[in-house]
Structures are given as structure tokens and as C-alpha cells.
Amino acid sequence: MSFLSLMVKNPFRNRTRAALAIVGIAIGIATIVVLGMVTGGLQTATTSTLKAGAAEITVTPVGSSGFGSAGGTLNESLANDLLNISGVSNTAGVIGLNANVTGVSNASSSGFGEGLLINGIDSDKLSLEGIDSINGSFYSNGSSNELILGTTAASNLNKTVGSTINLFGTNFTVTGIYQTGNFITDSGGFMALNTLQNLTSNDGKVSDIAVKVADNANVTTVSQSIKNAYPNQLTATTAADQANRINQGLGFINTASFAISLLAIVIGGIGIINVMIMSVFERTREIGVLKAVGWRSSRILTMILGESIILTLTAAVVGIVVGVIGVNVLLAVTGAGFKPELTVGILLRAIGIAFLVGIIGGLYPAYRASRLPPTEALRYE
């Protein structure tokens, strides 16, 4: 039997204890994997907001979040006024509202709260929202009962082209289903601007204005020009700014993930120290025998440390499998509009942390075992 086989065999002498130690560490590893996959998925979804062809700037009232506001708070005429600013090639007034979906058992279609995010925009301006093609057809601007849905919303609401959906007390026909790659946009729907304004008593009002910048213009310069032109009225946020803000938010998740990683190392390390010290205590006489037959202290140290690492790497495998299955099931059940991403980096982090826990947890017991005087070890009862 090789030395490696011996190291693999030893930690599982007491199967219950080994299983409990593995479960403890695997929970920490699974948490790290889940957070990593969710953060990665959200980052990818955020990056796709910078879609070519879509509006680069969102104009909202001063004091708003910059992501668009609920209801109509801006005059629709401002969309035309903005066309006079140098570098602006196209604009579109948009009104966004959260609609209750009736007749659907699962009203949480987007996974980001109850209801469906519906935007009103002229159909010929949909390219500014990143919608260039559609499965089915676009709604007509004068229509009062047509809308299009994003793929995630359609899937969660179980709607196809031709289906009917009741919003704001009116039945709408789904004329088309679009996909932009942006998980927020794909979790909502669009209808004609004047239809939504009429239904919600927001005639002549919009919540934000999408601004397309001319090819030869600088986005930041145009953004600043808009702010300068309407100093106390409008603020302009570029798509890059929006992505950065979202990424800042994801940065907090990353920090939390790092903190959980540290906690996993500390808690897992203490657990492994406990398990390995117990193991060394129980095997004191055996260690004496190994020394008596000529084993070097370094070999005993390697063996105990190796056993500790094997235990934590086994936990890493269990944690990764549980984490990957868990996050996919969780996001499928909640209907979140983005896909979790498993990257090599996440796997390396999980395995690296497990390895580190194995070393930290095994070092002291291994050192202790290697320093046992053989005569004392052999006398141990």
C-alpha cells in the first residue's frame, strides 16, 4: 500500500466523526460557491446592460436613483427638447410602473418583488432599450391592448405569443417575446407609451428619458451637457455609471463572501483541529509504534497533515456539488432572471480555502504527533 493510500484510509476510521467534520466544512464551502456563482451571474447580467445600439444615457429628475423612477414625474416634451443638445442623436420618453398580474398564481414574475415591471415607450423607439428583434411582432403605437414580454417574464408567467394577460384591469395580448440579455429588462414587458399613460393617469408624463448619443460624440460630455442645460431639473446617468453602481453593490456581496470565507476558515479550522487532536490522542500508542519501527518525525507530520487535508478536500468536493446543485435549484424555484455562473476562479477559491483549512487545522495535531517521545507514546493506555 502506498503512503498516499495510507493517508486516504486513516481519516475514515471513525466514519461518524469524519462525516460530521466533512459536513461542517462543506456547509462553509457551499456558501462560498453559492455566493460566488450568484455574484458572477449578476455581474454578467449587469455587463449586458451596456448593449450596443441601446441608449447610453438615462435622464431622470434630480434626486432620483438614476435607474428610472416609478410613475410619471417628467414632462414628455423634455424628450424632444433634449434633441437640441449637441451630441444627442435620439431620445425616447419612458414611463415605468410595477403592475399587479391578475389571474396568475405566481405573481412574482421577475424574482425581484411582487408584480411585473411594465414600461411604456413608442414601439419605434424600442431599439433604445436594446430590443432590436422579437419573436412575434412589436405592438403598434396606437393600440390599447397589446404588449411584448421579456423571455424571463414570459417563462415565469407561462405566456406565449398570443396569450392574454390582465394588467391595470385591462386584458392585453402578448404580440411578441424579446430577449436582450439584461436580466432586469428580460423580466419585464413593454407597451405603447400613451396606453400606459392613459391607464395610469399619467398623460403627458414620463418617468425617464432614454438618450442615444451620436456616433462621433462623447457619452460623458453629452451627459454633462444635459446636466448643465437643466441644472436643478434633470440628472443624466450613463449606462457605464449604472453598471458601476450595480457592481459596487455586488462588491458588497463579494466582501460578504470574503468574510464568510474567513469565517469558514476559522470555524472549519477549529473543527479540524478538534477532530485531528482526538485522532492523535487515540492513536498515541500507534504513533509510538511507527517511531519504534523507524518512521521519521517528518513522515508522521506529513501523514497527520495529509489526513487533515484529505478530510477538508473531501469536504470541498461535497460543498461544491451541494452548492452548484443548491444555487441552480434555488434560482429556478424563485424565478430569478439571471443564470448563476460557475467559474474556475470559484472552484479554485473553494478548493484553496479547503486546503488552507486542512493545513491550519492539521498543523498543530501533526506537530504534536511528530514530537511525541516514542517511549511515552508506547506506554500510553
Binding site: M1, S2, F3, L6, K9, N10, R13, R285, E286, G288, V289, L290, K291, A292, V293, G294, W295, R296, S297, R299, P373, P374, T375, L378
Partner: protein
């Protein structure tokens, strides 16, 4: 014919514990020739096992000199290598590792050699065959805790011999066995000593066990009180043991 050389030379060897309060060895002088069978007798606490530990380099003496196989154990740095190459230990409680199979237990000392796993397995099986384990295919996976006391001690002897040591140190090897099984083990050890020309040092407090040796040393209070090559009179000692 050449006179056999001394394999063990001990002069005025002293070892104490508990800051000098317990004098385990109090000036031991001993010379043992290569290939001899020697037994060390004495009551509990007389220093027999301590002396055996010194010869086996499991512990270092405080004073005096001790040379084994030409190596000065007072100054030698790598005692592990010495133990691995020169010494085979047989303990009273056999000390087999419970989660390893019989053959894996015999392989344990060979991890410090440069043998491959295959060579280790071959050598271990060879030794187990020598120890009268007839069904070798069974012992590859056999759990040592399922063996009888005598069988376990035979496995322990195989483990002691596996690295071709020049000295076998047996500390009460029959102490945990019934007299019949003990006799079998002693006969086995004696046969091995003769066949392999290995030096055998056996610690016991049983006169009838000591009688099997060529020389007998009696210890008391950390000193060798007398040496004899005369057999000790045994009065129903076997019966008294039972």
C-alpha cells in the same frame, strides 16, 4: 574460526527520570555478541524495559556509553534510520494498527525504505509465510483484530523482521498469551534467531522463558546483578502462570 564481534557494547550506562529521583539504569555494563540469544530478567521496575529502550534507541541515556552495530547511540543524530535498519521490536501487546489489514501492518516499517509498493507487498507476504500463515490470499485483507493473540503476535514478529534487522528486541512477547501459545511464539523466535543469525534480546520475568536463551542477565534496581549461562530451576512455573 573468527570469534564473533560484539554487536552491543554498553559501559556504565545511566538513565534517570523525574529530575533524577528515579534511577532507572544505574551503571549498566553489558556486551552482547552478534547472533547471540540473550534474556534479561528481573522484577517490575528493575530497568529491563528501559535498557531495551536504550538498545533500541527509543530513548537516550544520561551518562555512559552505548554502541549498537558500531553506532554510538549517545551521539548518533539519525536514530530513526538506525531503528529502521538495525532493530526489530516485538511488544507484549503486539501493537498492530487496527484499521490496516494484516499484510499492511507488516508493510509499515518499509515506508522508510526505497522499496516500491509491489516490492513491499512481496516482502510482507514472504515474512507472513515464514510466520506460518498458510492462506496468504486471506491475510491481504484480513482485519488483525479478528485474529487470535498468537496470530497477532506472529504478525508483529513478521513486522519486526521485515527490514532485515540485526537485532530483535522482544519485550515480554509472551506476557499476554497463554502458555501453549507463548511456547509456540518462543519457539518461532528461537528458530528465526538460528536461521537468520539475528541477535535476539528478550525481556521477561518468567524464568522458564529466560531459560531458552544462551545467556541470562538478572537486573535489580537499575543494575545487572548477575549473568549466568546456567539454566534457572523452574518449579511448576508454567502452572503458576496459569
Amino acid at each position: 574460526m573468527n570469534k564473533p564481534e560484539n554487536i552491543i557494547e554498553i559501559h556504565d550506562l545511566k538513565k534517570s527520570y523525574d529530575k533524577g529521583k528515579i534511577k532507572a539504569l544505574n551503571g549498566i555494563n553489558l556486551e552482547i555478541k552478534k547472533g547471540e540469544f540473550v534474556s534479561i530478567m528481573g522484577p517490575s521496575g528493575s530497568g529491563k524495559s528501559t535498557l531495551l529502550n536504550m538498545i533500541g534507541a527509543l530513548d537516550r541515556a544520561d551518562e555512559g556509553s552505548i554502541k549498537v552495530s558500531g553506532i554510538d547511540l549517545m551521539t548518533a543524530k539519525d536514530l530513526n534510520k538506525f531503528r529502521s535498519q538495525e532493530i526489530g521490536f516485538v511488544f507484549q501487546m503486539h501493537n498492530l494498527i487496527p484499521n490496516l489489514s494484516v499484510v499492511e501492518n507488516v508493510e509499515i516499517p518499509m515506508y522508510e525504505t526505497k522499496l516500491s509498493s509491489k516490492e513491499m507487498r512481496g516482502r510482507a507476504l514472504e515474512l507472513l509465510e515464514l510466520m506460518n500463515f498458510s492462506n496468504l490470499s486471506d491475510v491481504i485483507s484480513q482485519d488483525p483484530t479478528k485474529l487470535s493473540g498468537g496470530e497477532r503476535q506472529r504478525v508483529a514478529i513478521a513486522r519486526a523482521l521485515v527490514n532485515h534487522p540485526s537485532i530483535i528486541l522482544a519485550d515480554e512477547p509472551t506476557g499476554a498469551l497463554d502458555s501453549k501459545t507463548g511456547d509456540t511464539i518462543l519457539t518461532l523466535l528461537k528458530d528465526l534467531h538460528q536461521k537468520e543469525n539475528v541477535t535476539l534480546i528478550l525481556v521477561t520475568h518468567e524464568p522458564y522463558v529466560a531459560n531458552m536463551a544462551e545467556r541470562i542477565f538478572n537486573m535489580l534496581d537499575g543494575k545487572i546483578m548477575e549473568e549466568t549461562n546456567q539454566k534457572i530451576k523452574v518449579h511448576n512455573l508454567k502452572q503458576s502462570k496459569i
